[in-house]
Symmetry: C2
Subunit: 229 residues, 2 copies
Protein backbone atom coordinates (compact mmCIF):
# COMPACT_ATOMS: atom_id res chain seq x y z
CA UNK A 1 0.00 0.00 0.00
CA UNK A 2 1.23 3.47 -0.84
CA UNK A 3 2.40 5.47 2.14
CA UNK A 4 0.82 8.92 2.01
CA UNK A 5 2.64 12.00 3.31
CA UNK A 6 0.00 14.65 4.06
CA UNK A 7 0.86 18.36 4.26
CA UNK A 8 -1.70 20.50 6.06
CA UNK A 9 -3.05 23.82 4.74
CA UNK A 10 -4.84 26.37 6.93
CA UNK A 11 -5.43 30.11 6.45
CA UNK A 12 -2.40 32.29 7.16
CA UNK A 13 0.31 29.65 6.96
CA UNK A 14 3.84 30.67 5.90
CA UNK A 15 4.29 29.25 2.38
CA UNK A 16 7.97 28.26 2.67
CA UNK A 17 7.15 26.20 5.81
CA UNK A 18 5.08 23.97 3.57
CA UNK A 19 6.70 24.27 0.13
CA UNK A 20 10.26 23.52 1.34
CA UNK A 21 9.53 20.08 2.81
CA UNK A 22 6.82 19.44 0.17
CA UNK A 23 9.44 19.81 -2.58
CA UNK A 24 11.71 17.36 -0.74
CA UNK A 25 9.04 14.74 0.03
CA UNK A 26 7.56 14.99 -3.48
CA UNK A 27 11.09 14.37 -4.79
CA UNK A 28 11.23 11.22 -2.65
CA UNK A 29 7.89 10.06 -4.08
CA UNK A 30 9.28 10.53 -7.61
CA UNK A 31 12.26 8.32 -6.84
CA UNK A 32 10.42 5.82 -4.60
CA UNK A 33 6.81 5.23 -5.71
CA UNK A 34 5.94 3.46 -2.47
CA UNK A 35 5.28 7.00 -1.21
CA UNK A 36 2.86 9.63 -2.36
CA UNK A 37 2.30 13.19 -1.23
CA UNK A 38 -0.95 15.11 -0.76
CA UNK A 39 -1.76 18.64 0.38
CA UNK A 40 -4.85 18.71 2.56
CA UNK A 41 -7.28 21.51 3.42
CA UNK A 42 -10.81 21.92 4.70
CA UNK A 43 -12.04 22.24 1.11
CA UNK A 44 -10.43 22.51 -2.34
CA UNK A 45 -10.46 26.32 -2.54
CA UNK A 46 -7.17 28.28 -2.63
CA UNK A 47 -5.97 29.10 0.91
CA UNK A 48 -4.58 32.52 1.89
CA UNK A 49 -1.03 32.47 3.25
CA UNK A 50 0.81 35.19 5.19
CA UNK A 51 3.02 35.89 2.13
CA UNK A 52 1.09 36.92 -0.99
CA UNK A 53 0.46 33.66 -2.81
CA UNK A 54 -2.48 31.39 -2.10
CA UNK A 55 -1.90 27.63 -2.08
CA UNK A 56 -4.51 25.17 -3.34
CA UNK A 57 -4.90 21.77 -1.65
CA UNK A 58 -5.11 18.51 -3.58
CA UNK A 59 -7.45 16.82 -1.08
CA UNK A 60 -9.87 17.65 1.73
CA UNK A 61 -9.44 16.52 5.33
CA UNK A 62 -12.40 14.15 4.80
CA UNK A 63 -10.56 12.41 1.96
CA UNK A 64 -7.36 11.71 3.91
CA UNK A 65 -8.10 9.67 6.98
CA UNK A 66 -5.08 7.42 7.53
CA UNK A 67 -1.93 9.08 6.19
CA UNK A 68 1.42 7.46 6.90
CA UNK A 69 2.78 10.89 7.85
CA UNK A 70 1.27 14.29 8.57
CA UNK A 71 3.27 17.53 8.48
CA UNK A 72 1.91 20.81 9.85
CA UNK A 73 3.49 24.11 8.73
CA UNK A 74 3.62 27.29 10.80
CA UNK A 75 2.40 30.77 10.13
CA UNK A 76 2.37 34.16 11.80
CA UNK A 77 -1.00 35.30 13.20
CA UNK A 78 -2.60 32.43 11.24
CA UNK A 79 -0.74 29.78 13.22
CA UNK A 80 -2.04 31.28 16.46
CA UNK A 81 -5.58 31.38 15.05
CA UNK A 82 -5.16 27.69 14.17
CA UNK A 83 -4.60 26.92 17.88
CA UNK A 84 -8.32 27.58 18.33
CA UNK A 85 -9.51 25.83 15.14
CA UNK A 86 -11.19 22.77 16.63
CA UNK A 87 -11.95 21.12 13.29
CA UNK A 88 -8.28 21.35 12.25
CA UNK A 89 -7.07 20.14 15.66
CA UNK A 90 -9.51 17.27 15.72
CA UNK A 91 -8.42 16.08 12.24
CA UNK A 92 -4.76 16.24 13.35
CA UNK A 93 -5.57 14.35 16.55
CA UNK A 94 -7.46 11.73 14.56
CA UNK A 95 -4.77 11.04 11.95
CA UNK A 96 -2.02 11.17 14.59
CA UNK A 97 -3.48 8.02 16.16
CA UNK A 98 -2.38 5.88 13.22
CA UNK A 99 0.33 7.97 11.52
CA UNK A 100 3.87 6.72 11.85
CA UNK A 101 5.18 10.27 11.61
CA UNK A 102 3.60 13.41 13.05
CA UNK A 103 5.70 16.38 12.00
CA UNK A 104 5.72 20.15 12.13
CA UNK A 105 7.70 23.10 10.87
CA UNK A 106 8.06 26.40 12.74
CA UNK A 107 4.82 27.42 14.52
CA UNK A 108 3.25 24.16 13.37
CA UNK A 109 4.70 22.72 16.61
CA UNK A 110 2.37 24.93 18.62
CA UNK A 111 -0.55 23.50 16.63
CA UNK A 112 0.62 19.95 17.46
CA UNK A 113 0.84 21.18 21.06
CA UNK A 114 -2.71 22.56 20.98
CA UNK A 115 -3.84 19.17 19.63
CA UNK A 116 -2.35 17.62 22.76
CA UNK A 117 0.41 15.77 20.95
CA UNK A 118 3.51 17.27 22.59
CA UNK A 119 2.83 16.63 26.26
CA UNK A 120 6.04 15.50 27.95
CA UNK A 121 7.98 15.56 24.69
CA UNK A 122 11.13 17.46 23.70
CA UNK A 123 10.26 19.70 20.73
CA UNK A 124 11.32 22.80 18.83
CA UNK A 125 9.74 25.60 16.81
CA UNK A 126 10.69 29.07 15.49
CA UNK A 127 13.24 30.56 17.93
CA UNK A 128 11.00 33.56 18.67
CA UNK A 129 8.23 31.43 20.17
CA UNK A 130 10.23 28.50 21.49
CA UNK A 131 9.31 29.12 25.13
CA UNK A 132 5.61 28.91 24.27
CA UNK A 133 6.05 25.16 23.80
CA UNK A 134 5.99 24.88 27.60
CA UNK A 135 2.35 26.03 27.57
CA UNK A 136 1.54 22.73 25.87
CA UNK A 137 3.60 20.60 28.23
CA UNK A 138 6.53 20.24 25.81
CA UNK A 139 10.21 20.70 26.64
CA UNK A 140 11.78 23.28 24.26
CA UNK A 141 15.01 22.17 22.61
CA UNK A 142 17.39 24.32 20.56
CA UNK A 143 18.00 22.05 17.58
CA UNK A 144 17.30 22.23 13.84
CA UNK A 145 14.81 19.37 14.30
CA UNK A 146 13.85 17.15 17.23
CA UNK A 147 12.53 13.57 17.05
CA UNK A 148 10.66 11.88 19.87
CA UNK A 149 8.74 8.72 19.09
CA UNK A 150 6.46 9.42 16.12
CA UNK A 151 6.76 13.19 16.61
CA UNK A 152 9.30 15.29 14.73
CA UNK A 153 9.37 19.08 15.03
CA UNK A 154 11.53 21.51 13.06
CA UNK A 155 12.77 25.01 13.89
CA UNK A 156 11.67 28.10 11.91
CA UNK A 157 10.57 28.19 8.26
CA UNK A 158 13.62 26.99 6.26
CA UNK A 159 14.38 24.27 8.84
CA UNK A 160 11.61 22.22 7.25
CA UNK A 161 13.91 21.48 4.30
CA UNK A 162 16.58 19.95 6.56
CA UNK A 163 13.97 18.00 8.55
CA UNK A 164 12.42 16.64 5.35
CA UNK A 165 15.79 15.48 3.99
CA UNK A 166 16.40 13.72 7.28
CA UNK A 167 13.01 12.01 6.95
CA UNK A 168 13.79 10.92 3.39
CA UNK A 169 17.07 9.38 4.57
CA UNK A 170 15.19 7.59 7.36
CA UNK A 171 12.27 6.39 5.22
CA UNK A 172 13.85 5.71 1.85
CA UNK A 173 17.57 5.57 2.60
CA UNK A 174 20.53 7.88 2.29
CA UNK A 175 20.94 7.30 -1.44
CA UNK A 176 17.43 8.56 -2.15
CA UNK A 177 18.00 11.53 0.18
CA UNK A 178 21.16 12.43 -1.75
CA UNK A 179 19.31 12.14 -5.06
CA UNK A 180 16.56 14.46 -3.83
CA UNK A 181 19.15 16.90 -2.46
CA UNK A 182 20.82 17.03 -5.88
CA UNK A 183 17.43 17.43 -7.63
CA UNK A 184 16.72 20.59 -5.59
CA UNK A 185 20.42 21.55 -5.70
CA UNK A 186 20.45 22.02 -1.94
CA UNK A 187 24.07 22.97 -1.38
CA UNK A 188 23.41 26.05 0.74
CA UNK A 189 25.63 29.14 0.54
CA UNK A 190 24.03 31.80 2.73
CA UNK A 191 25.78 34.91 1.39
CA UNK A 192 26.48 36.27 4.88
CA UNK A 193 27.18 32.85 6.41
CA UNK A 194 25.02 31.10 8.99
CA UNK A 195 23.10 32.89 11.72
CA UNK A 196 25.16 34.40 14.54
CA UNK A 197 22.79 33.75 17.44
CA UNK A 198 24.68 36.23 19.62
CA UNK A 199 24.30 39.25 17.37
CA UNK A 200 21.70 38.60 14.65
CA UNK A 201 18.62 38.14 16.82
CA UNK A 202 16.56 41.34 17.08
CA UNK A 203 16.13 42.65 20.60
CA UNK A 204 12.69 42.85 22.11
CA UNK A 205 11.05 40.24 19.89
CA UNK A 206 8.40 39.52 22.56
CA UNK A 207 6.14 42.47 21.61
CA UNK A 208 6.04 41.23 18.01
CA UNK A 209 5.13 37.69 19.07
CA UNK A 210 2.55 39.15 21.46
CA UNK A 211 1.03 41.24 18.63
CA UNK A 212 0.75 38.15 16.39
CA UNK A 213 -0.91 36.20 19.20
CA UNK A 214 -3.38 39.01 19.86
CA UNK A 215 -4.24 39.23 16.18
CA UNK A 216 -4.62 35.48 15.73
CA UNK A 217 -6.53 34.89 18.96
CA UNK A 218 -8.66 38.05 19.10
CA UNK A 219 -11.81 35.92 19.34
CA UNK A 220 -10.34 33.54 21.91
CA UNK A 221 -9.43 35.63 24.96
CA UNK A 222 -9.17 32.63 27.30
CA UNK A 223 -6.60 30.84 25.15
CA UNK A 224 -4.76 34.14 24.62
CA UNK A 225 -4.65 34.70 28.38
CA UNK A 226 -3.34 31.18 28.94
CA UNK A 227 -0.54 31.65 26.40
CA UNK A 228 0.50 35.07 27.72
CA UNK A 229 0.23 34.36 31.45
Amino acid sequence: MTKTIAFVLYPGLTPLDLVGPLQVMAGMATVDPSFDVVVVGSDLAPVETDTLVKLTPTHTFDQVTEPFAVIVPGGTAGAFAALADESLLSWIRHVARTAEIVGSVCGGSLILGAAGLLHGRPATTHWASRDLLRKFGAMPVTERWVEDGPVITAAGVSAGIDMALHLVARLAGEQVARTVQVMIEYDPEPPLGGIDWNSDVPEAIEPQVQAMMELGLADHPELLARLTS
Copy 2:
Protein backbone atom coordinates in the same frame (compact mmCIF):
# COMPACT_ATOMS: atom_id res chain seq x y z
CA MET B 1 8.11 55.58 -5.15
CA THR B 2 7.84 52.01 -3.99
CA LYS B 3 10.20 49.61 -5.70
CA THR B 4 8.24 46.57 -6.84
CA ILE B 5 9.80 43.10 -6.92
CA ALA B 6 7.74 40.99 -9.36
CA PHE B 7 7.79 37.18 -9.24
CA VAL B 8 6.56 35.48 -12.39
CA LEU B 9 4.07 32.58 -12.45
CA TYR B 10 3.56 30.28 -15.44
CA PRO B 11 2.08 26.78 -15.72
CA GLY B 12 4.36 24.00 -14.52
CA LEU B 13 6.83 26.05 -12.49
CA THR B 14 8.63 24.44 -9.52
CA PRO B 15 7.04 25.97 -6.42
CA LEU B 16 10.20 26.19 -4.26
CA ASP B 17 11.95 28.14 -7.06
CA LEU B 18 9.43 30.90 -6.46
CA VAL B 19 8.45 30.53 -2.80
CA GLY B 20 12.04 30.48 -1.47
CA PRO B 21 13.09 33.89 -2.81
CA LEU B 22 9.53 35.22 -2.40
CA GLN B 23 9.71 34.53 1.33
CA VAL B 24 13.06 36.34 1.50
CA MET B 25 12.04 39.38 -0.57
CA ALA B 26 8.69 39.68 1.22
CA GLY B 27 10.65 39.69 4.48
CA MET B 28 12.73 42.58 3.12
CA ALA B 29 9.55 44.48 2.24
CA THR B 30 8.30 43.98 5.82
CA VAL B 31 11.47 45.50 7.24
CA ASP B 32 11.98 48.15 4.52
CA PRO B 33 8.67 49.52 3.16
CA SER B 34 10.38 51.22 0.22
CA PHE B 35 9.97 47.78 -1.41
CA ASP B 36 6.91 45.78 -2.21
CA VAL B 37 6.47 42.33 -3.70
CA VAL B 38 3.93 41.06 -6.23
CA VAL B 39 3.33 37.70 -7.88
CA VAL B 40 2.34 38.08 -11.50
CA GLY B 41 0.49 35.78 -13.89
CA SER B 42 -1.45 35.97 -17.12
CA ASP B 43 -4.69 36.15 -15.12
CA LEU B 44 -5.67 35.81 -11.46
CA ALA B 45 -6.57 32.11 -11.60
CA PRO B 46 -4.53 29.56 -9.61
CA VAL B 47 -1.59 28.27 -11.66
CA GLU B 48 -0.60 24.59 -11.80
CA THR B 49 2.94 23.82 -10.64
CA ASP B 50 4.99 20.66 -11.18
CA THR B 51 4.61 19.74 -7.48
CA LEU B 52 1.01 19.34 -6.32
CA VAL B 53 0.04 22.81 -5.08
CA LYS B 54 -1.29 25.55 -7.30
CA LEU B 55 -0.08 29.11 -6.69
CA THR B 56 -2.35 32.11 -7.18
CA PRO B 57 -0.93 35.41 -8.49
CA THR B 58 -1.64 38.77 -6.87
CA HIS B 59 -1.51 40.71 -10.17
CA THR B 60 -1.75 40.17 -13.91
CA PHE B 61 1.04 40.95 -16.37
CA ASP B 62 -1.05 43.88 -17.63
CA GLN B 63 -1.08 45.41 -14.15
CA VAL B 64 2.69 45.32 -13.63
CA THR B 65 4.47 47.27 -16.33
CA GLU B 66 7.53 48.82 -14.70
CA PRO B 67 8.73 46.66 -11.82
CA PHE B 68 12.04 47.53 -10.16
CA ALA B 69 12.95 43.84 -10.31
CA VAL B 70 11.60 40.77 -12.03
CA ILE B 71 12.41 37.21 -10.95
CA VAL B 72 11.58 34.18 -13.10
CA PRO B 73 11.43 30.72 -11.48
CA GLY B 74 12.19 27.44 -13.22
CA GLY B 75 10.15 24.31 -13.71
CA THR B 76 10.50 20.89 -15.27
CA ALA B 77 8.61 20.35 -18.56
CA GLY B 78 6.74 23.61 -17.83
CA ALA B 79 9.90 25.69 -18.01
CA PHE B 80 10.65 24.24 -21.46
CA ALA B 81 7.08 24.95 -22.57
CA ALA B 82 7.59 28.54 -21.38
CA LEU B 83 10.47 28.92 -23.85
CA ALA B 84 7.82 28.99 -26.57
CA ASP B 85 5.28 31.15 -24.69
CA GLU B 86 5.55 34.37 -26.69
CA SER B 87 3.22 36.39 -24.45
CA LEU B 88 5.29 35.49 -21.37
CA LEU B 89 8.57 36.19 -23.18
CA SER B 90 7.34 39.49 -24.54
CA TRP B 91 6.24 40.68 -21.06
CA ILE B 92 9.64 39.71 -19.65
CA ARG B 93 11.41 41.49 -22.52
CA HIS B 94 9.27 44.57 -21.97
CA VAL B 95 9.81 44.90 -18.21
CA ALA B 96 13.51 44.04 -18.55
CA ARG B 97 13.99 47.31 -20.46
CA THR B 98 13.43 49.38 -17.33
CA ALA B 99 13.99 46.93 -14.47
CA GLU B 100 17.14 47.40 -12.42
CA ILE B 101 17.25 43.69 -11.67
CA VAL B 102 16.34 40.85 -14.00
CA GLY B 103 16.67 37.61 -12.08
CA SER B 104 16.02 33.90 -12.43
CA VAL B 105 16.14 30.71 -10.44
CA CYS B 106 16.94 27.28 -11.90
CA GLY B 107 15.38 26.80 -15.37
CA GLY B 108 14.15 30.39 -15.24
CA SER B 109 17.53 31.28 -16.75
CA LEU B 110 16.60 29.42 -19.92
CA ILE B 111 13.43 31.55 -20.09
CA LEU B 112 15.54 34.72 -19.75
CA GLY B 113 17.71 33.24 -22.51
CA ALA B 114 14.71 32.60 -24.77
CA ALA B 115 13.69 36.23 -24.17
CA GLY B 116 17.08 37.22 -25.58
CA LEU B 117 18.40 38.61 -22.30
CA LEU B 118 21.46 36.41 -21.75
CA HIS B 119 23.35 36.90 -24.99
CA GLY B 120 27.07 37.25 -24.22
CA ARG B 121 26.48 37.06 -20.47
CA PRO B 122 27.86 34.63 -17.88
CA ALA B 123 24.92 32.84 -16.26
CA THR B 124 23.91 29.72 -14.35
CA THR B 125 20.90 27.43 -13.96
CA HIS B 126 20.11 23.95 -12.60
CA TRP B 127 23.25 21.82 -13.00
CA ALA B 128 21.41 19.29 -15.19
CA SER B 129 20.68 21.81 -17.93
CA ARG B 130 23.61 24.19 -17.49
CA ASP B 131 25.06 23.50 -20.94
CA LEU B 132 21.77 24.50 -22.58
CA LEU B 133 22.57 28.11 -21.67
CA ARG B 134 24.95 28.12 -24.66
CA LYS B 135 21.95 27.72 -26.99
CA PHE B 136 20.94 31.23 -25.94
CA GLY B 137 24.39 32.74 -26.31
CA ALA B 138 25.16 32.67 -22.59
CA MET B 139 28.36 31.44 -20.96
CA PRO B 140 27.54 28.78 -18.33
CA VAL B 141 29.18 29.33 -14.94
CA THR B 142 29.27 26.89 -12.01
CA GLU B 143 28.32 29.20 -9.14
CA ARG B 144 25.42 29.45 -6.69
CA TRP B 145 24.41 32.68 -8.39
CA VAL B 146 25.95 34.86 -11.11
CA GLU B 147 25.56 38.64 -11.55
CA ASP B 148 26.23 40.45 -14.80
CA GLY B 149 24.92 43.98 -15.13
CA PRO B 150 21.21 43.95 -14.31
CA VAL B 151 20.99 40.18 -14.79
CA ILE B 152 21.32 37.75 -11.90
CA THR B 153 20.81 34.02 -12.36
CA ALA B 154 20.72 31.35 -9.64
CA ALA B 155 21.48 27.63 -9.77
CA GLY B 156 18.81 24.98 -9.13
CA VAL B 157 15.67 25.35 -6.98
CA SER B 158 16.97 26.06 -3.44
CA ALA B 159 19.69 28.39 -4.77
CA GLY B 160 17.00 31.05 -5.12
CA ILE B 161 17.05 31.51 -1.33
CA ASP B 162 20.77 32.33 -1.33
CA MET B 163 20.44 34.61 -4.35
CA ALA B 164 17.56 36.47 -2.74
CA LEU B 165 19.46 37.03 0.51
CA HIS B 166 22.34 38.41 -1.55
CA LEU B 167 19.92 40.78 -3.29
CA VAL B 168 18.50 41.93 0.04
CA ALA B 169 22.01 42.71 1.28
CA ARG B 170 22.71 44.63 -1.92
CA LEU B 171 19.40 46.54 -2.01
CA ALA B 172 18.62 47.13 1.65
CA GLY B 173 21.92 46.47 3.41
CA GLU B 174 23.50 43.63 5.32
CA GLN B 175 21.61 44.38 8.51
CA VAL B 176 18.26 43.91 6.79
CA ALA B 177 19.55 40.72 5.13
CA ARG B 178 20.58 39.36 8.53
CA THR B 179 17.16 40.23 9.97
CA VAL B 180 15.38 38.42 7.13
CA GLN B 181 17.71 35.44 7.52
CA VAL B 182 16.80 35.22 11.21
CA MET B 183 13.08 35.63 10.42
CA ILE B 184 13.17 32.55 8.19
CA GLU B 185 15.70 30.87 10.50
CA TYR B 186 17.99 30.14 7.57
CA ASP B 187 20.88 28.44 9.31
CA PRO B 188 21.10 25.41 7.04
CA GLU B 189 22.03 21.97 8.37
CA PRO B 190 21.66 19.54 5.47
CA PRO B 191 21.53 16.24 7.39
CA LEU B 192 23.96 14.51 5.00
CA GLY B 193 26.12 17.60 4.51
CA GLY B 194 26.45 19.57 1.28
CA ILE B 195 26.37 18.01 -2.18
CA ASP B 196 29.37 15.94 -3.20
CA TRP B 197 29.54 16.83 -6.88
CA ASN B 198 31.82 13.88 -7.59
CA SER B 199 29.54 11.15 -6.27
CA ASP B 200 25.99 12.50 -5.74
CA VAL B 201 25.12 13.41 -9.31
CA PRO B 202 23.09 10.70 -11.05
CA GLU B 203 24.71 9.25 -14.16
CA ALA B 204 22.99 9.64 -17.49
CA ILE B 205 20.90 12.67 -16.60
CA GLU B 206 20.69 13.70 -20.28
CA PRO B 207 17.83 11.32 -21.16
CA GLN B 208 15.74 12.82 -18.33
CA VAL B 209 16.42 16.38 -19.47
CA GLN B 210 15.67 15.30 -23.04
CA ALA B 211 12.35 13.75 -21.93
CA MET B 212 11.36 17.00 -20.15
CA MET B 213 12.25 19.03 -23.24
CA GLU B 214 10.24 16.73 -25.50
CA LEU B 215 7.26 16.94 -23.17
CA GLY B 216 7.42 20.72 -22.80
CA LEU B 217 8.11 21.44 -26.45
CA ALA B 218 5.97 18.76 -28.11
CA ASP B 219 4.15 21.45 -30.11
CA HIS B 220 7.34 23.31 -31.05
CA PRO B 221 9.52 20.86 -32.99
CA GLU B 222 11.76 23.57 -34.43
CA LEU B 223 12.71 24.97 -31.03
CA LEU B 224 13.13 21.42 -29.70
CA ALA B 225 15.44 20.59 -32.58
CA ARG B 226 17.48 23.73 -31.97
CA LEU B 227 17.93 22.89 -28.28
CA THR B 228 18.84 19.26 -28.87
CA SER B 229 21.11 19.71 -31.86
